[in-house]
């Protein structure tokens, strides 16, 4: 008791039966509430979980390879910057090596990495045909990393890429079903991220940058291309999703 009385001037220290707790120390939140309660202090707010918070990734290997000049693409900085000039034919590329690398670049947000990754993935999916299916398992980690950044632009790009991926070749949609556990949790977090603008104009709709809408489109594409097991697996990870084919 004597010890407690001596330390009373220090506001940061509060008493608990039997011991003195310094609030600067990390204590579990429930215990902290209890301490404040006993000392008639205002109860603290619960800490922020940060589910929607953007997360940073370390440097991607795409950036490293690009700067080293390892990609068979010609680097151009002209005004019509919507195409990649490939130095070799895409048909002759090793998809097991290059496709995961380009997917890795989806995490990038700065020019030119973001453009080359997005356009490279687009070209390879458009012209890959049967070479895409065997690479699917190697694409999951880059996709998961990109979605986990929770960055608005990265999310939009990745969702559009996923929509393209499932229609890029036969059986790709089915091949993705076992990996829903890796891909869908982030979609479940952001599925309701939709702007309620009343009767105002939501320009993100026209630009296809509305994350909630993009997630719905992506899940529908997954269901259409994923075969008969797709719906139940989506529903397991995203409980609010309703089938676009059964109803």
């Amino acid at each position: 008791m004597m010890k407690t009385r001596q330390q009373q001037p220090c506001l940061k220290k509060v008493k608990q039966p039997g011991k003195v707790v310094d609030l600067r120390e990390r204590v579990p939140f429930t215990q902290e509430v209890e301490i404040f309660d006993r000392n008639n202090l205002k109860k603290p707010e619960p800490p922020v979980a940060g589910a929607f918070k953007e997360r940073t990734t370390g440097g991607t290997s795409f950036k490293k390879f690009y700067e080293r000049g390892d990609f068979p693409i010609a680097l151009e900085h002209d005004t019509k910057g919507n195409k990649i000039a490939w130095k070799v034919e895409i048909e002759k590329l090793d998809y097991h090596h290059y496709l995961p690398l380009f997917f890795d670049g989806l995490c990038e947000t700065s020019h030119p990495y973001e453009f080359f990754a997005r356009q490279g993935v687009h070209d390879m999916l458009e012209h890959g045909g049967s070479k895409i299916l065997p690479v699917i398992p190697q694409l999951i980690i880059p996709i998961k990393n990109a979605l986990n950044t929770r960055n608005h632009k990265v999310l939009c790009t990745t969702l559009k890429v996923l929509q393209h991926l499932v229609v890029s070749a036969d059986m790709v949609g089915e091949a993705l079903v076992p990996y829903y556990r890796q891909i869908l949790p982030v979609m479940n977090i952001f599925i309701n991220k939709n702007l309620n603008s009343g009767d105002g104009i939501d320009y993100s709709q026209q630009k296809r940058e509305n994350v909630g809408d993009l997630i719905h489109e992506t899940l529908e594409a997954f269901e259409r291309c994923g075969g008969e097991d797709a719906f139940i697996n989506i529903k397991y990870m995203v409980p609010t999703y309703e089938s676009c084919m059964l109803n």
């Binding site: 010609a74 019509k80 195409k83 990649i84 000039a85 490939w86 130095k87 070799v88 034919e89 895409i90 070209d123 458009e126 012209h127």
Partner: protein, 92 residues
């Protein structure tokens, strides 16, 4: 790397600018993006008779630029609205 054009080319007699999109415009847009006037010039420069096309609609699929790099095109329309009147349609 760049190939110098040495063959005599058939020069076009006139040029018009389209106001609406159609398949002809799309074709011209794709060739002009790769740096050629049209299919005739492409075949003359590349000394080939073959142009890669998408089987389902006949749109250009792949072109080789003058510097030897490859341009790949989508299976659907690529020419944006604002590029329509910048495309040139040549007549011989």
């Amino acid at each position: 790397m760049a190939k110098v054009e040495t063959m005599p080319t058939a020069s076009p007699k006139s040029m018009s600018r389209p106001t609406q999109w159609n398949e002809e415009v799309e074709e011209a847009y794709r060739f002009q993006l790769a740096g050629y006037r049209d299919e005739i010039e492409y075949k003359q420069v590349r000394k080939t008779d073959h142009v890669d096309r998408w089987p389902h609609n006949g749109f250009i699929k792949k072109l080789i630029r003058r510097d030897g790099c490859f341009y790949y095109y989508d299976r659907t329309r690529e020419c944006p609205d604002k590029q329509i009147n910048k495309t040139k349609l040549y007549a011989y």
